[in-house]
Amino acid sequence: MKALDIIFGLALAIGGLLVPLSGDAYLMGLVFQLAMWIALAQSWSMLSSTTGYLSLGHAVFYGIGAYVCVLLTGVVPFGVALAAGAAASAVFAGLIGLPVLRVQGPYFVILTYGLAELVRNVVMRIESALGSFGRMIFMVPSFEVLVWCMVALGILATLGAAAVRHSALGAGLAAIRENEVAAETVGVPVARLKLLAFVASATIPGAVGGLALLRTGYFEPAQAFDPVISFTIVTMALVGGTETVRGPVLGALGFTLLSEALWSSLPQLYMIVLGLTLIAFILFVPRGLSGLADRALGRG
């Protein structure tokens, strides 16, 4: 199974990196979307799958990255703008992390949602105070470059998620998920590890937001901080399965393909299917697509 995972992952990564050479705009768009959702869902899993602190506000990191990126594009080179977007998200997570991570269970879930909405409204307010109702972005690198960058982020996030899971950090985070008091008692520095995971899970989404924005060429706070982004991340990760690194990849794969079929023609229907699948998986398939794959291949 492990070997199979690695082959599957390598095939996806190489395929993704090769697609821009074909010059096929549709395929590139598909790969861009897929890599984006893999990067986001894997980042989310670094905090939420490991510790059980389910974030329903990851759009805030995506949005902050996009915002910083749009402010810097044209001022500094493209790569620097992206890095700044990621750094801004990481710093924001670091600043709010300690108080936010003291809140537990369902309160944490709804707090992250509320926070994302708060930031969205503040940015909307700032933008309208500046008299800006959406910003156009010029001097965008070619789409090929954007696709390569996004695939790289998807790979990076997947490797990062695997590294977190199989490290001492991952063991500590799992202990926190199972019983925070007991974890603290056997020496796990609970507050510090949670903060570390929070910052780790916020960083890549910042760069992803920047890239997604450069692709559309247009920034509007209501869209960059859209709560639908958060919801999609959670759905993909939970439906894919939280117990393995493979889970978010499977979830992203499934829903990206579904979205290709439905989003352009019937976006509401796509959202309804998203909601129904999420409910069905939480209730009946708690181990997700990843668990189903294990069973189909005769393991677990």
Partner: protein
């Protein structure tokens, strides 16, 4: 300064405050008895609003009748959610643990489904209708009939609920469940009977609140979430199961919001509400409810 001291502003604050108190009452009941945070609560308000809108525009049925239809519809929805999802899961302690942790995500799924079903059926454009919008002036305060009706209905239901909880036997059972869930079971309160009734009542109250909203505001399929947030702020400030304090907290939030917006600008309304929400959760995280129950 004159406007701040006027009865006009106070009236506006009372109207929205009573509405918030009503919406929070429904959420409070459901959380109190089922220990499930219903993030889709505001979407039931939206369902109620659409019910009133269509009944009025298509069949000329006035909101005073729609109250009953919206309440019944939402109660039915509550029953379906309870039977379809939570009943078996709450009955099984092993599963209940997991579901409690995930219940918010589950309800979020329901919320997304309700919003998009509505948008699919009726498009996303905002809608409204005119009902009792003649202005009545009393003591220099201008009031529209629909706002007066809203204040009366919301206030009336809140007071009725308080009296019911205090004086009716079922109200006592309910308070017992809210305050000491396990102990209530031991002394013979039947949770399987109480829970479905309460989830239906909580949903129905949200539906009625939706009818009230539709009389005075534009409605859209995505109007619900701010109401959910407001209801959360109210019950966090007021405390779980503390229905009376919740009503007071609802009124205070109406005052804070109305005066806050009057002092700044309407553009700050969302920031104010979300800011308050985040602040309340950060200052009194998760201990709020348990503390309120213990004291």
């Amino acid at each position: 300064m004159d406007t701040l001291l006027s009865g006009q502003l106070l009236f506006a604050a009372l109207v929205s405050g009573s509405l918030y108190a009503l919406i929070a009452l429904g959420l409070n009941l459901v959380y109190g008895t089922l220990r499930l945070l219903n993030i889709a609560h505001g979407d039931l308000v939206m369902i109620g609003a659409y019910t009133a809108f269509w009944l009025f525009t298509l069949l000329s049925i006035p909101p005073v009748v729609s109250f009953f239809v919206a309440a019944a519809l939402c109660a039915l929805l509550g029953w379906a959610v309870y039977e379809g999802m939570f009943r078996r899961l709450l009955a099984n302690p092993g599963l209940a643990k997991r579901v409690e942790a995930n219940s918010l995500i589950l309800f979020y799924g329901i919320s997304v489904i309700l919003q998009n079903l509505t948008a699919l059926a009726f498009t996303s454009s905002s809608r409204g209708y005119q009902y009792l919008d003649t202005v009545i002036t009393w003591q220099g305060v201008s009031m529209t009939g629909n706002r007066l009706l809203s204040l009366g209905v919301a206030g009336g239901i809140c007071i009725a609920a308080l009296l019911f909880l205090r004086f009716h036997l079922f109200g006592w059972e309910l308070r017992a469940v809210i305050q000491r869930r396990e102990a209530a079971q031991i002394v013979g309160v039947n949770l399987n009977r109480v829970q479905p009734i309460i989830i239906c009542a909580g949903f129905a109250i949200a539906g009625i609140a939706g009818v009230l909203v539709s009389m005075t505001e534009q409605i859209t399929p995505f109007m619900g979430f701010p109401f959910t947030i407001i209801a959360f702020v109210v019950i966090i400030i007021g405390g779980l199961g503390n229905i009376g304090a919740g009503v007071l907290a609802g009124l205070s939030l109406g005052l804070i919001e109305t005066y806050g917006v009057a002092l700044t600008s309407p553009g700050y309304r969302s920031i104010l509400i979300y800011g308050l929400f985040v602040a309340v959760l950060l200052i009194r995280p998760e201990g709020i409810f348990t503390k309120a129950v213990r004291s």
